[in-house]
Amino acid sequence: MPERVKTDMGGAIAALDYDAELMLRVKEGDGASFGLLLEKHRSPVVHFLYRMVQNHAVAEELAQEVFLRVYRSRSSYEPTAKFTTWLFRIATHLALNSLRDGKNERLQERLDNDSSDMPARQVSDSRPSVEQKMVYQVRLDEVRQAVAALPEKQRAAVLMHKYEEMEYSQIARVLRCSESAVKSLLFRAYETLRARLAHMA
């Protein structure tokens, strides 16, 4: 649930944030606005969750829960922050809970099974050779394992920074920490990733 602050601030945020405006319409009973929000944020949420838990089926299940929670909370919604901040806060919370619940059992399964989830990557040559495919797969596994090895909060921060292109301040609000803490998380995360992936240049 979004934290409650003064109504005039909520109004200002709603004015700047079209998504928050849509959500206020959902609150008034406009189902079509919920459809628009879903259309816009479905893929980013699923992709973020997929990269967090590294299992497509689990990611979609969690994403369903995210949007269900958004819908359930419509009557009490107050636009106290950007809509995406609230949305990714729910998504991050669910992803972290999922990782903590079944981390040990599922980790290896995720890394083993996930190759089948991946779309065939378009390589410059229209018909990639078997060797090219294998090289790509090896590199991809290395990336996924490097990201999976990051501590959960660092992973969430990197994914929001890299793929959702969020500002430090927004990541800080999603993770409920200070901006300097986010910078520190990202610095350490990228330091680890550079050590593991720099050779791929």
Partner: protein
Amino acid sequence: MKCPIETRESAELLLAYCDRKLDAESTAILERHMEVCAACREFASGQRAVWEALDAWESAPVTQDFDRRLYRRIDRETSWWHLLMRPFRPVLVRQGLPIAAAACLLVMAGVLLERPAGAPPAAPRPQSAQVEAFEADQVDHALDAMRMLGEFSHRVPGDAADSKM
């Protein structure tokens, strides 16, 4: 310029540069610095490699029945609630507030009527019974004493005269 790699706070400059998010002026300053700073050059090339590697990691597209599944779940939740509330809906919509107020008044009245006007008498404790029994004895003793005093007072004038004599 001070080397950004020396302080963690300034490393975000390098991150922004690698992500091509740095403004033109800062980019020019940083590039001049990097011409003479091997550590910053190494940081930048390493960071670019990380971002390229992460770019290669594509997520599978969302399954086509995602929305259908979600709306089914939403419908299930809402229909469950609607079914539960359906018998009360017309009444609740039209007269919800007055009925709620009347119900509250009835409950309050019921609570008040249930309570007796005065406090219920406390069950007589064994001690009070003893006190009552003790008081009856005292009355008997008092009556005996009065009787004895009466007899005594009849005798006293004679005794007094005897003593005068």
